[in-house]
Every structure is written in C-alpha cells, then in structure tokens.
C-alpha cells in the first residue's frame, strides 16, 4: 500500500519528477510524509507558511491519518493577479 506525492511548478523541476510513491504504514500522517519528502529533497521548502498541503484535493491538517492511494499535493498560495 502506498500514497502518492505530486509535484508541480518549481517543486517538479527541483525533484525532477512529477510524482513519487511512498509506502504507507499504519497511522502514517500528513506530517510524516512532509518529513519524508523534506529529507529526500532538502531543497524543497515545505513549511506551512510557504505551501498548502492538499490530500485528494482538499486542504488537510498535518495530523490527518492517510489512507491507501491518497494523493498528496503541495500548492503555493495563488491569488490571481
């Protein structure tokens, strides 16, 4: 069982991939995925003031427990110029 993490914009070019899959263990939470991704890609800045974290296209708290096949996305604030 895995969850996927999707990268867009400069996250995609920094990681050189648009998606990775992470093994899911019992009680894996959003914050665990953030830690995993940050360790794997130290150049990414994923603090909550910099990006919004979405699970299956909904903004989700950091302690939310993930389910198999969940899709995690990082979204910068977009206000529409």
């Amino acid at each position: 069982m895995t969850v996927s993490v999707q990268f867009h914009g400069h996250h995609r070019t920094t990681t050189r991939t648009s998606e990775i899959h992470i093994p899911l263990s019992k009680n894996t939470r959003v914050k665990d995925v953030i830690t995993y991704v940050s360790d794997r890609y130290p150049d990414l800045q994923l603090a909550d003031s910099k990006v919004l974290v979405l699970v299956n296209n909904s903004i989700t708290p950091m302690d939310h427990a993930l389910n198999p096949n969940d899709k995690i996305t990082f979204l910068p604030p977009v206000g529409g110029g």
Binding site: G9, R12, K50, S58, V78, G80, G81
Partner: protein, 722 residues
C-alpha cells in the same frame, strides 16, 4: 516632424504624491489646457481609476459611444506611483467608454509613463475630441513644453506597428541614444480595425538594451485612442524618482517599502516563483484543477498542456540572467521577456524580435483555440502587441467562432476557410485578418458580443430558424458578459468566481475578484453569505490598487509568512499593513484598512452609477453564459462525468439521481442556474443594492454621491423612495 501647436508651461511640483493638475487635450481643436484640482477632488476620488470615473461620469452621457467626440480617454497613475523604494509602483489606469461594453472600462498598465507624467507635473492626462489628422503629443517636463505634432510616417510596416512605431518615434526624438527618462504610449493598426485594440506602454530597458512594452489590454482603450486620431503620447523628465512624491514621512515610505521587499524576496522563491517563471507558472496549476479554458472553455485541461508549462518558456525563451520588471525597484520583477525570437508566420516571417511575455492570460487565450505550441504563443504575443490587440479578446473571439463552426452555426463559405481547433495556420490567418481588417477578420474584430449577432443573423438567414432562437443557443457558449470577453479561467466549478465574473462592473475580467482557489480548492467560502462577503471585500481592495497607481501582485500572489496565522489568510492582511503604511506616509493621512476600503467603495458605487446610466447596471447585465456556470453541452458533461455525477449526488442528498445522462445534465444545469440566481440575491443585499442590482439611496448617500444626477437616475429605476 510638423508641429501643430507648441506651448510652454511651468511644471507643477509634487507634494504628498499629487501635483493636483490634469493635462487636458482637446483633439478636435488641438487645444491644450491645465486643469487645477481642489483638495476635495483627491480626497474623494483618490487617483487612477477614481479620476477616470469622475471625468467620465461628469463629461459623458448615456448616449456617448466610444467614437463620440465627447468620449474622454483618461490616463492616470495615482498618489503612490513613481516611488522605486516600494515594489510595483509603475502602474496606471486608462479609462474611457468602451467600444465593447458601451460603458466605463478601465485597464491597468505598467511601465514608466505615469511616473514620468507626474514628474512633468500632471496627475492625469485627459483627452477629448477627434483630430482630423493623426497626431502625437509630446510632454517635455525638462524643457517645460507641450507639443502637438502631425504623426510622422516611417513607412507602412513601421507605421502599422505599435512597437515599431513607438521605437522609431523614440529614436527620432532622442537621437540615437535611448534612455529611461522617456516613455510613451502607442497604438497599432489592430486598434484601428478591431474593437479590442490596446494601448501599449513603451519604455527603454537598459538591461536588455531595447524598448519593452506593457499593455492596457482590456476593453478597447487603444481603439478609442486610435479613433481620436492620437497615435502616441511621449513624456520626458530627467528628475530623480526616489522621493519624488515628496512624502509626508520619508522614513515611513522607506520602512514600508523595505518590509514588503523583504517578504517578496523571502517568499516568492518558495511559493510561485514569479520573479523567475513569470505568470506562465499558473498554466500548470490551472491545468491541474480543470481551469485552463481549452477549446473556448469547454474543457479545463488537455494532455498536451505540458508543452506550455512555465519551465518550457524558462528554458527555451526567457533570458534567465536578466532581472526583469516593468518599473524601477520592483523585486517581484515578473515581466518576463525573450530575445531573438524568430517569427515563422505572418507578414514579418523570418524577422527576429524581442517578445515581452507571455503572461498567463496570453497562453490561456491560445489554449482557448486548442493550441499548445509554445512558439505559436510567443508569435501570437508579439503580433498582438505589435498590432495593438488584446490577446484575451482576440483569443476568446477566435475560439467562439471556432466553436460556431464546430457546432454548425458558421459555414466554411461564410468564414472563407475552415475554422479548426488547434490549427496554427488558421489561428495565424484569423489574427492577421483581424488586425488588418481583411476578410473574416472584420467579424472577429467585432468581439464576441457583436460577432454573436452576426453569426445568428447569417445562420437564421441560411436555415430559416428565428434569430432569437439561434441567439439563445449561442448565448450558452459566447463567453462575454456586458460585452467584454471573459478572462482566462474556467469558473464552472466555483460559484464564487461565477459571481466574480458576473458582478465585475467592467465585465468578466478577474481584476475585481479571483476567488477560484479559495472557493473551489481551499473551500474557505462554504456558504452563500461567505461568498457574498468575499465578493464585496475583494473588489473593494482590488479597486484601491487601481486608484493609487500600484501593482497588486506583490500583495495577492506573494503570501506573507504571518498570513497563515490570521482569520482569513487569502486576504494577506500582514502585507496590506505595509500598503496602508505606505499610503499614510506618502499623503500624510492616518487611515486604517477600513478607511481604504471605504474610499474604494465610493469609486465602486460611482462606477455602478455609470453602468446604470449606460444600460449595463442591472441584474440582467450581471448574468453570465451557461458555460461559465457548468457544462453547456453534453460533451462537456461527458468529459467529467464521474465528477458531475458525484456533484449531483451530493446536491440531491439521498434523492435518486436520474439514470439518463441527458436528464442528469439537464438537472445539473437547472441547479447551477438556480445557485447563481440565489448568489445574486445574497450579494446584492451585502452590497446594499436592490434585488435588481440598483444601489439603494442610503448606499450612495454614505459616500457623498447622492447628487441630483444620482437621484434622477435612481428615480428612473424606481428606487428613490426605498
């Protein structure tokens, strides 16, 4: 250059961001005058859009059209433009009666023009009349001269191009040495032939060693300028711009600017990266969330969209080592550009050009025609700028006509060729024909609203169907409201953005409210009331930026690190505090954010009055096409069938969803229409309007605008007694 009139003047000094002077030009008589403003004028109308609104309200009537001699074309910065120590201070507004909407339009534009105009001693330039011969206006603040001259000719190819003509003019006036203390506005041949002509703002960029351009794109301001017989306005001043506003509190200006620049510097590279990627960065996110207006807004994404993501432009076209920006001191510097792009099509094929752009909107307009070719986007960008055409209205009108062909409303014989989606050759042909006023381009140059009527009449004549019935079908996918083409976002799945487009006073341009993400993605506006509050708050704060001469992007697209801790992160209030500090420090006021919103609401109400007077102010004028509310046709429903089926299930809350797909589509359309109408009711109440969208007398009186004209107008709508 043949002078028609040359006068000397003493440039007024700037104090607290204002000169309190408007330069008036009557092109019918070639009269030049200086209008002095009483202090109450700036207190009530602020600057920029506010000045344009006041002049249009006072000097035009309900019968004034874009080409009427009394129509007034206003170019105005604001008290906060010009200062390089604060980011984004090169903005100004061009306001007038629009050839597309027949009511007030304004479009904001970057560059050095308004700052130099202010240094020449003028808060605004107001132009009336129509000149028999095409002329240019030269304002030289250094020499204290204002000259009207016959527009010089440099040969047809140069004369037809807004960029080419401006460059030739600047070179002639400056000798061979270009510099940053001269700026100009120009129009191209497209503005003479289409209703969506733009005004180009040209300035010299010494880093790129060429003239660059920004555009007042929306609503046909360039068409008005061209119709008046004004080819260009040149302003010159060698005065230093740092501190030129003579702020009341220089230290406060410096502090506010430093604070904002620090946030931009820290946060942009971790958020959208506008400083290196420019606004094309949005393409990827719009594609992901089904917001890219593919094939006239039928579909929100496309498998080929990857070919036009921002990193493609970054790696293939943008000069990465050059810090960009449309004005001094802006460290967001999002005005990306490319050098030595070889044109492959059109009358300039084979020529290498510098391209200023693309912006997201231009790439979106090309996706609207079903094209995902980055080189075509660069060419389309350059040709539209050179011709003086709005990339948005051009793309939306072309794609509307393509869909008319797709659905059988427009024959190949009528167009002269097959209007196919995704065909670069076809798109080029239609673009050049539109700019030059040739062939079917004459229909495209009308814009969607008038082209729709043309198609309906011809189809009705061909088939015998009643025109009204044909129009009703075309209205489902003709992406215009109030006569203006939609900007480049699909609003089907965001009711708040449907309101953002429908209620926008100028027509469906997102600069009043862009609520898609906070509504559709963040889900921060779950109720009608929350949507209504956002649909009041955002247009007011956004209007303020257009009144004071500032760019919105450092506020709206770079989130302050403290914003996440506030009640409403999308409002980005920690950053707005810097703007309020900058305002107070410049003009010497002691305003709060609420005071700023109140100032803005006065302007909003004034614009509403003009719309009412000109027949574009009631509930009927706020209605949007079906495609802006949901899937207009079954093919759109089928493209996201699982999503729409799920949406219906949630809405019906246990009631059985129809088994038949067409029945599900019809039900969804019914629910979407009902939701929009309910939103209208709630928003009008929030704004202090009647259910027909007419402001109540007390709403107008609150802002000191309930004079005899306003009373008579309200009486004509039957609301003075309410």
């Amino acid at each position: 250059m043949k002078a028609i009139k040359n006068i000397s003047y003493q440039p007024a000094s700037i104090m607290g961001g204002y000169t309190d002077r408007i330069l008036r030009l009557d092109l019918s008589s070639h009269a030049v005058s200086v209008q002095s403003l009483a202090p109450e004028f700036k207190e009530k109308y602020v600057g920029g859009r506010g000045y344009a609104l006041k002049l249009v309200w006072d000097e035009t009537t309900k019968d004034t059209r874009y080409d009427s001699p009394e129509n007034i074309l206003v170019m105005a910065g604001g008290p906060l433009c010009c200062e390089p120590r604060f980011p984004g201070t090169g903005k100004f507004i061009i306001g007038t009666i629009s050839p597309l909407t027949d009511t007030f339009i304004d479009s904001n534009i970057g560059g050095h023009f308004s700052s130099l105009l202010k240094l020449c001693g003028f808060d605004a330039l107001a132009i009336t009349g129509i000149s028999e011969k095409e002329v240019i206006l030269i304002v030289n603040g250094d020499e204290g001269t204002i000259e009207i001259a016959e527009a010089p000719s440099y040969g047809e190819a140069v004369d037809d191009g807004a960029l080419s003509y401006g460059t030739a003019l600047m070179q002639e006036l400056n000798g061979d040495g270009l510099d940053e203390n001269v700026a100009l506005v120009t129009t191209g041949i497209g503005a003479a032939n289409a209703r969506f002509g733009i005004v180009n703002s040209l300035f010299y960029d010494k880093r790129r060693q060429r003239i660059r351009s920004k555009q007042a794109g929306r609503g046909g301001t360039g068409t008005v300028m061209r119709r008046k017989g004004l080819r260009a306005v040149i302003v010159r001043s060698n005065l230093d711009r740092i501190g030129a506003n003579k702020p009341a509190d220089d230290r406060g200006v410096k502090e506010a600017g430093s604070s904002l620049k620090k946030v931009v510097s820290q946060m942009d590279r971790q958020q959208l990266r506008l400083s290196s990627w420019g606004t094309p960065v949005l393409i990827e996110y719009m594609d992901k969330y089904h917001l890219l207006p593919v094939n006239n807004y039928q579909y929100g994404r496309h498998p080929d969209a990857r070919a036009i993501f921002a990193d493609v432009f970054l790696n293939r076209y943008f000069e990465k080592k050059v810090p960009d920006g449309c004005y001094f001191g802006c460290n967001l510097a999002c005005a990306k550009g490319a050098e030595n792009v070889t044109l492959r099509h059109g009358p300039r094929a084979g020529q290498q050009v510098g391209v200023d752009g693309p912006e997201y909107e231009t790439a979106g307009a090309v996706s609207c025609m079903g094209i995902f070719d980055p080189h075509f986007i660069m060419e389309y960008n350059w040709y539209c700028d050179e011709y003086g055409l709005d990339t948005i209205s051009m793309g939306v009108t072309a794609s509307f006509l393509m869909e008319c062909a797709q659905r059988g409303y427009l024959s190949e014989e009528e167009a002269g060729y097959e209007l196919k989606w995704g065909d670069v050759e076809v798109a080029h042909r239609l673009l050049h024909e539109t700019a030059l006023g040739h062939g079917f381009g004459k229909v495209c140059g009308l814009g969607v609203h008038r082209a729709k009527a043309w198609v309906a009449e011809h189809y009705a004549a061909r088939t015998g169907e009643p025109v009204d019935r044909v129009l009703a079908e075309l209205n489902k996918f003709a992406m215009e409201t109030k006569g203006l083409e939609f900007s480049m976002y699909i609003s089907k799945e965001s009711l708040a953005q449907q309101g953002g487009y429908g209620f926008a006073l100028k027509g469906p341009q997102h600069d009043e409210a862009w609520l898609i993400f906070i509504d559709q993605v963040h889900k921060e506006l779950p109720t009608f009331e929350a949507k209504a509050q956002a649909l009041k708050w955002f247009p007011l704060i956004r209007t303020w930026f257009n009144a004071v001469g500032l760019c919105k992007l450092p506020w709206i697209d770079v989130r302050h690190p403290e914003a996440a801790k506030t009640d409403n992160p999308a409002q980005n209030q920690p950053t707005l505090a810097y703007y309020v500090q900058y305002l107070n420090s410049t003009v010497g006021s002691n305003k709060t954010l609420q005071d700023v919103l109140d100032d803005s609401e006065r302007l909003y109400i004034l614009q509403k009055l003009i719309n009412l007077r000109n027949g574009k102010g009631t509930r009927q004028s706020d209605r949007i096409p079906l495609r802006a509310m949901g899937p207009a046709f079954l093919n759109e429903y089928e493209a996201r069938e699982d999503y729409y089926d799920e949406w219906l299930k949630e809405q019906l809350n246990g009631v059985e969803v129809p088994a038949d797909r067409e029945a599900r589509h019809s039900l969804l359309v019914k629910l979407r229409r009902e939701a929009f109408e309910r939103l209208c009711d709630v928003v009008y109440q929030e704004k202090g309007f009647t259910s027909e969208a007419v402001p109540l007398p007390r709403t107008i009186e609150k802002f000191g605008l309930l004079d005899e004209r306003a009373r008579n107008l309200l009486t004509s709508f039957g609301v003075m007694d309410k």
